[in-house]
Assembly symmetry: C2
Homo-oligomer: 104 residues x 2
Amino acid sequence: MAYAMSLAVLADPTRRRVFERLRAGPRPVNALAAGLPVSRPAVSQHLKALRDAGLVNERSEGARRIYSIRREGLRELRDWLDTFWDDALTAFKQEAEKSRGAEK
Amino acid sequence: MAYAMSLAVLADPTRRRVFERLRAGPRPVNALAAGLPVSRPAVSQHLKALRDAGLVNERSEGARRIYSIRREGLRELRDWLDTFWDDALTAFKQEAEKSRGAEK
DNA sequence: ACAGGATGTAAGTTGTCACTTACGGTAAGC
DNA sequence: GCTTACCGTAAGTGACAACTTACATCCTGT
């Protein structure tokens, strides 16, 4: 059920840009917001959403909050996508298709 | 860039339910809309969105329009997800982390 | 040709959400 | 202590998108 939240959270372009920036390594909010066309509070809100979805980790370092990618949070979404490649399912689908008749 | 559209399209719960129903095989709009808490036109609109994103195929069979999953449409999203597991990237990230010292 | 079923599309409404500004809190430096 | 930087949160606003109803279109029987 968590893959639904991952999809919803990653669907927003700005939020996705923040998430992708974290691929280069852990970053404080300042660095994540720099250069983006939105305000820093907006980035904070996006980070909260990412955190609630389990997609990022948060760690305090003095006055800074360091965010980093949490790969585990992506696993459910990945698994869900894989269900569309499942062999048994594909076989069933092809069989149903074949026994159907003609196309177009 | 197509993975962005896939994310946006699959983020909607109702649209995702329609898409998941197609796992059982090709279906006409009628069958897809049956039992859903929304009207049939709503399902039609969702199918258009899925089609524009390349996630489903459409085939005419008499008066019916038969929709089916198009797995190719999911590949970019799948590849994008994989970039977060990429080994070379992880190595780079760990190295950058190690040789850090100064940031900002 | 007409009726009925199946589907796409137009137009309008409403809720949600991403954004902004303003403010509060904490940590580090002078 | 005071100031400044860093960050989260509250409140309000505007745009978009998912939905509805109504209508247009195409196909199939009779």
